[in-house]
């Protein structure tokens, strides 16, 4: 067989070498995104789109990624979607696209830490990186025109006011501002309700522009009617409600045993002392705000104390720091005139009350509610004036001061129990029982948790592993 010519051999060798070289030099295939998904971010008030995907391969360190989102339709005034030609585009860059499993998935799961297990996303595959982006539509597509109009209108109002323009002109400008602010609210609602297209793109060094990868997805954000991440909270509340109703019904049939506390016995004693000595009973209902629950409990207790004082013929003085609380107390006390508003300033109130104590020398002082730094000033002045003092507070940081300066103190939940215990009302006793049962349940969980956690830390394998899993299971609720 004749040998092929040298030139042909050289060409064949060159072709054989060039094949792999051309494969190397040609554009690489775009990176694949497994299970690419985009949709409404769940369990929120709408306006947020979520994008999720996995990728298996290692990215080059200089690869640039971004998720592009384009507005393709917005609702009109009647709620019908109107498509947009060349709608605005915005983008969001994922934090990192590295392959470190921990770094990528921990932030992802961190968002759900503390939520019950039914709110957890699917467990990430340890062999793949899971990425999750939340795209807040108002951040990406702020209604700039409406925002600028509102800003300009505010400037115009400032200019009119500072130049001393007539009142009608200023008022008209303010009305225009209200219209523009309403337009801004509507514009924001339209953005949140619009339709969008999401496309993942990447760019490597040497590439002229970003290239798409993965399919483009059309999405819209919708508000949800129920947040299942709070379902455990709802279940517990409903359970407690049921417990209260059952306990109250049971208490009406047969009143439960209520343990007497020295501090609870001290309240009627304070009333009797005031009646016997002919000096007033000073009662303070101290609150940060009318709306707090210790306020309700304190007002209920005040009502009971007032009824007893009225029966015993004792005078009462009830200075208030909050006018709303004073208004409520006037409805609950036997003598509405006992309630006096002093001032809303914390230390001015303290100075006024200590002055009252120094002048009137009350026989007894009752401190009910949430106290601040003034608690010791009040209690020490009361002690100096020779009063019998009882405090009932939920303020954990003031308890030490009140315990040292007062004769008796009801701490924490005892404040909430006081009115029920004083009234002797079966329904009140029933709710106390429900409260105790709830506390017993919590204490049981705490004890079990402490035992399991201690076991997980101290016991040998495989027991410690099982206990750690038990802890995780408990944390999953």
């Amino acid at each position: 067989m004749p040998k092929p010519p040298v030139r042909v051999l050289r060409l064949a060798v060159l072709l054989l070498l060039a094949a792999p070289l051309s494969a190397v030099l040609a554009d690489p295939a775009p990176p694949e995104l497994d299970d690419l998904w985009a949709g409404d971010s769940p369990w929120d008030d709408g306006g947020v789109i979520a994008v999720r995907w996995h990728n298996r391969q290692t990215d080059p360190f200089d690869r640039f990624w971004r998720a592009e989102i384009t507005q393709i339709a917005l609702p009109d005034g009647q709620g019908r979607m109107q498509p947009l030609e060349n709608g605005p585009m915005s983008w969001l860059r994922p934090q990192r696209m590295a392959t470190d499993f921990e770094a990528q998935t921990t932030p992802f799961l961190h968002e759900y830490r503390g939520y019950p297990f039914w709110c957890w996303p699917p467990v990430p595959d340890p062999h793949r990186d899971t990425h999750y982006l939340r795209m807040d539509l108002l951040t990406l597509f702020p209604p700039r025109q409406e925002q600028e109009e509102v800003a300009l209108q505010r400037k115009e109002i400032d200019r009119l006011k500072s130049s001393g323009s007539p009142h009608e002109q200023v008022r008209s400008a303010e009305q225009e501002l209200v219209r523009k602010e309403e337009a801004l609210i509507l514009a924001r609602a339209r953005v949140r309700a619009g339709r969008y297209r999401v496309q993942m793109k990447y760019q490597d060094a040497g590439m002229g522009k970003l290239e798409p990868t993965g399919a483009a997805m059309e999405v819209s954000a919708t508000p949800d009617l129920f947040n299942p991440c709070r379902a455990n909270n709802l279940l517990f509340s409903l359970l407690l409600m049921a417990l209260i109703l059952v306990s109250v019904a049971s208490a009406r049939r047969r009143k439960p045993f209520l343990k007497t506390l020295p501090a609870l016995e001290a309240i009627p004693e304070a009333v009797r002392r005031a009646a016997a000595l002919g000096r007033p009973l000073l009662c303070l209902v101290r609150t940060d705000s009318f709306l707090t629950l210790p306020t309700f409990a304190s007002l209920s207790t005040l009502g009971e104390v007032s009824a007893r004082a009225s029966e015993a013929g004792a005078r009462m003085t009830v200075p208030h720091i909050d006018p709303l609380v004073m208004a409520a107390a006037e409805e609950l006390t036997a003598r509405p005139g006992d309630n006096v508003f002093v001032t809303g300033e914390q230390f001015a109130f303290t100075a006024a009350v200590t002055g009252t104590m120094a002048r009137e020398k009350p026989a007894s002082c009752l401190y009910l509610g949430s106290y601040g730094a003034e608690s010791l000033i009040l209690a020490e002045t009361g002690a100096a004036s020779g009063a019998f003092q009882v405090a009932a507070t939920d303020s954990v940081d003031q308890m030490p001061f009140l315990v040292t300066a007062c004769d008796h103190v009801l701490i924490g939940e005892e404040l909430f129990a006081a009115s029920a215990a004083l009234s002797g009302d079966p329904a009140g006793a029933g709710t106390l029982r429900a409260q105790d049962l709830g506390k017993a349940l919590l204490a049981g969980f705490l004890l079990c948790g402490a035992v399991v956690a201690t076991g997980a830390a101290l016991s040998p394998e495989p027991w410690s592993r099982w206990m750690a899993r038990l802890m995780d299971l408990a944390g999953a609720f």
Binding site: E148, A151, R154, K155, D158, D288, E345, Q346, A373, V396
Partner: protein, 266 residues
């Protein structure tokens, strides 16, 4: 010993160091204060921090030194500081403190460039929730009356989520707990607090739980912060009075117990 004598002795002992400073040694920095200092120290120049003055003149004795120490540090690091308050009756005091810190800063500090006084709003959680949506909706203008859109640093700061750190200085409600619950936890923004020494225990659960990265406690905490930033502020000078007052207190307690023991014997 009579109450009045105790008060007189205490007043004398605490006044003495103000006339003749002793500079007692031994101040050491707690981990909570160190953590806040390190966080501010490691923020890049131009980072945004929000400082909320949630107190009124009643508690300024302990909280003002903390505020000054933190603000001076932030100005030194060239951070953009947004200042607001949740207690309207403390706003006048807040403006004076911030402007005074700016005027006495070593580097030039300008309102509207390095710090912005947003204002004060009573509304506690609604304020922090609203700030999480849009700062300009809650505070359309700053304390000088200038619309926020016209303030250059605020063109890039729209919501609380643009903050690198929130520091709440307060000892009541609304205060640090409000910010932790409705800003720190909700928007995952790093949070720190400063409070009076009597209120520290109420915030310890949040430090232990990691919701507060740092906690400055009372005048001692402010003195620790001043030590870290190498400043000689009012807290450092006040530590002498605090030291002598504490020793007097212990001495009186021990004296009272010795007296009781002697009476018991006789």
């Amino acid at each position: 010993m009579g109450r009045r004598r105790i008060f007189l002795l205490l007043a004398l002992v605490m006044w003495l160091p103000m006339v003749h400073p002793f500079r007692f040694p031994g101040l050491s920095v707690t981990s909570s204060v160190q953590a806040l200092h390190d966080r501010i120290e490691n923020l890049p120049s131009g980072a945004n921090i929000l400082v909320s003055f949630d107190f009124n003149p009643g508690t300024k004795a302990e909280l003002e030194p903390q505020a000054r120490a933190i603000l001076r540090h932030a100005f030194k690091r060239r951070l953009t500081v947004l200042v607001l308050g949740l207690w309207p009756d403390g706003w006048g005091m807040t403006q004076r403190i911030v402007r005074d810190c700016a005027a006495t800063a070593k580097l030039p500090v300008k309102e509207g460039r390095d710090f912005i006084l947003l204002g004060s709003q009573l509304g506690d959680l609604n304020v922090s929730l609203g700030l999480g949506q849009d700062i300009a909706a809650v505070f359309p203008r700053d304390a000088r009356g200038i619309p926020l859109a016209d303030i250059p640093p605020l063109r890039h700061i729209r919501t609380l989520k643009d903050m690198h750190l929130i520091v709440s200085l307060g000892a009541g409600e609304p205060g640090p707990v409000t910010w932790v619950m409705f800003a720190g936890d909700r928007y995952r923004i790093p949070m720190a607090a400063g409070t009076t020494s009597g209120n520290v225990s109420a915030l310890q659960p949040y430090v232990q739980g990691g919701q507060l990265l740092g906690l400055v406690s009372g005048m001692k905490g402010a003195a620790e912060y001043e030590m870290l930033t190498k400043e000689d502020g009012s807290a450092t000078r006040g530590m002498d009075s605090l030291t002598l007052g504490a020793f007097l207190l212990i001495g009186l307690v021990l004296l009272a117990n010795v007296n009781d023991w002697r009476k018991g014997r006789s």
